[in-house]
Symmetry: C2
Subunit: 471 residues, 2 copies
Amino acid sequence: MTLEQVFKDIDASYEKYKSILAEAVAIESVSGDPTRRPQTIKMVNWVKERLEKLGVRCTLQDLGKHTVDGKELPLPPVLFGQLGDSKSKKTVLVYGHLDVQPAAKVDGWETEPFVLTERDGKLFGRGSTDDKGPVLCWLHAIEMLQKHKIDIPVNIKFCFEAMEESGSLGLAELLEKNKNAFLAGVDFVCISDSYWLGTTKPCLTHGLRGLATFKIEVTGIQQDLHSGVYGGVVHEPLQDLIWIMAQLTSVENRILIPGIYDDVAPMSKEEHQLYEKIDFNVAEFRDSVGAKKLPTEDKKTLLIRRWREPCLSLHGIEGAFSGAGEKTVIPSKVIGKFSIRLVPNMKPEKVNKIVIDYLNELWKKRGSPNTFNPRLGHDALPWVADTNEANFKAGARAVKQVHGVEPDLIREGCSIPITLTFQDLTGKSVLLLPLGAADDMAHSQNEKFNKSNYVQGVKILLSYLLELGKA
Amino acid sequence: MTLEQVFKDIDASYEKYKSILAEAVAIESVSGDPTRRPQTIKMVNWVKERLEKLGVRCTLQDLGKHTVDGKELPLPPVLFGQLGDSKSKKTVLVYGHLDVQPAAKVDGWETEPFVLTERDGKLFGRGSTDDKGPVLCWLHAIEMLQKHKIDIPVNIKFCFEAMEESGSLGLAELLEKNKNAFLAGVDFVCISDSYWLGTTKPCLTHGLRGLATFKIEVTGIQQDLHSGVYGGVVHEPLQDLIWIMAQLTSVENRILIPGIYDDVAPMSKEEHQLYEKIDFNVAEFRDSVGAKKLPTEDKKTLLIRRWREPCLSLHGIEGAFSGAGEKTVIPSKVIGKFSIRLVPNMKPEKVNKIVIDYLNELWKKRGSPNTFNPRLGHDALPWVADTNEANFKAGARAVKQVHGVEPDLIREGCSIPITLTFQDLTGKSVLLLPLGAADDMAHSQNEKFNKSNYVQGVKILLSYLLELGKA
């Protein structure tokens, strides 16, 4: 039995895979919707039964309850599973999530979001690419190896949760408690919950930015005032706030806070070369954003800014008039919101300090008698992995076997906090192995998973398991 | 029969006046609430019947219908009335409104808003001071003159509307059509729909600021973007907008737009003296606003800034994140809102031009590739009256007869557009003769009309009518 023959069998199994994904999509596991909590829990059990059929020993990890709108709700349990426990084999931990974002046809879907619908080689449905399709790729890959009696050269542990779209409530604590239990003996971690950089070329993801959010509150009058009666004779909190917010970034979207770039890790020669090789079309990206011009249109500089440099975005103002039309009011209490994306080797504590210091310095310069209260919201650390680790090498070989090309080594500008949790608790390499394409529209209307990405995804994960055995 | 005896009869009539005001307050004439349109129309008819009992010839002026939330609603008619048409007498036109702002106990009222309740010499109820109480003062004054067989030395015309709290829909057009009909032959106009500067000293109002509202729209990306994925590589519309908005005012709330103060009317020596005489406590004002410090705490400068200088207030931003909590989004289309209060001799067309020119100049300096669209919302002219006119002199004598003091001559910082309409269409003097106190809380919770202001208000209007006869 050659790998080629197994791959042919995977191609031939597409209709079966599709019907299984359709079953999964039909379970409306919207974790953010309290009325769909039963379906969200059902989805965990549905996967548990399928894993058990493959011989995986499963347990449900109870996370207790949480309160939503004053009502207590059971949290969906986390599904732990284990397939194989050979002392002579290494162990890979696979993470995925079984819950989805909300979706409704009226939001602008062209098909029913919870009815998987194939059109032009695309499988439309909520959760098709995020993350039910990739989770099923693991199950199909294992089933196929078993069917063809191919020894799986690694032990596999599964950690599937169903609260990812709602902040992964309770997961980090559960994993911490299991550092020396379920997580013990793990050699590699693999997460398939991100996307290719484009629509045609596969990639491996080795970095994520962190985040620090900030709030600036300005108060000074006891209630909103009529701007006709009081205009001109009060220090308006909103004028102060906007003056401060205007001094955080340049027109080219560079951060004006002194020292903010100081700790950004220098780029090695290898990293420079990496960026040069990446397949990325700036014009296509600019058009997809709908911008006339970008602050930089040099491919390398643009990717560096997206992935390995900090950035500051203004999000809005709470407390000011935000409706349509007109309201001639002087708002009394306004809160500006902005956030900074962090990259190695920035330290959140230091970022917090220099940001708050800068804000306080601006405030002093402003000289307003109003009350100023800048504060940190929350923060998350950046993550970057060593792509020379065996885990990445196995992933790269698997991709090459299926697609015939070396995957691009990319980063993401956003945060996936669980990545760092796994790395910290296991001390081992975490590989982000995306199966979906950049245009899959996760979280948005008309989410889809390409037929080809689904089938190739099964092949990549199967191949990855085999390659890990050689690591 | 001396005026003193008539005034005693007015004092003795308080309980009757109170019960009539209670009847008026009980009619929930909330013009902004479509479900209360029948009560709003009922209120017009209720006043019509009372006027007719006094011998006033009344007509209802139909204004047709308007559409609210897709539903057609009849507009309340405007009540025109006339008492006396002697060729040898001059004619005063009295304006008032019969509709009220919304009110509900749950908003924080200590009493039922539509049940007039007396506590500590205050009559609490929606519409008590704005404007049902003052309207009834006219009716009581006329009744008292008739009861004591005192000739009313002027013809009186009434214009009572019931859409004032909802933009006076249709009124200006109706009055324009009646320029040479109902409005013909009017010699004086009197409006009792504003408030004293403080709580103890009566005043006459001779100026109002105008208004010009502006919107600045910045767009540049086709939809809201995830700040992790796109942060740092797009020109954020909100960063551009806030940079522009930060350059409109100084920390001391002075306008930074070149030329904006150029057309402000110079102050005469008399006007300077007027401001010196006005009874106004800056510390009390500052405390009522809840501010630690005001841009100026000099009485005269403060009042000048409130009433006869332009000011610019920032109101807020449409399209940015405005909720509580965090949302790490890059908004795609943001609209900044601000307004400028106008004073004589500023011309809205010129203000509009210099504001838009300044904004465009800033935008050019910004150098952003995003799309910028600054535009005027709407404008209203300022108004200022000659306090040497017979109308004001009669008002001042009436106040002195009742309160024993010369009224302060004040202005208001806000706009009452109907004032200018009456002045333009009649070409005659308009007097704003406030009867309520500064703390009456019009539009707010616990609106009230002091017992003393109610009773003294009847006396002032009675005396004003008599004084007009001497003009």
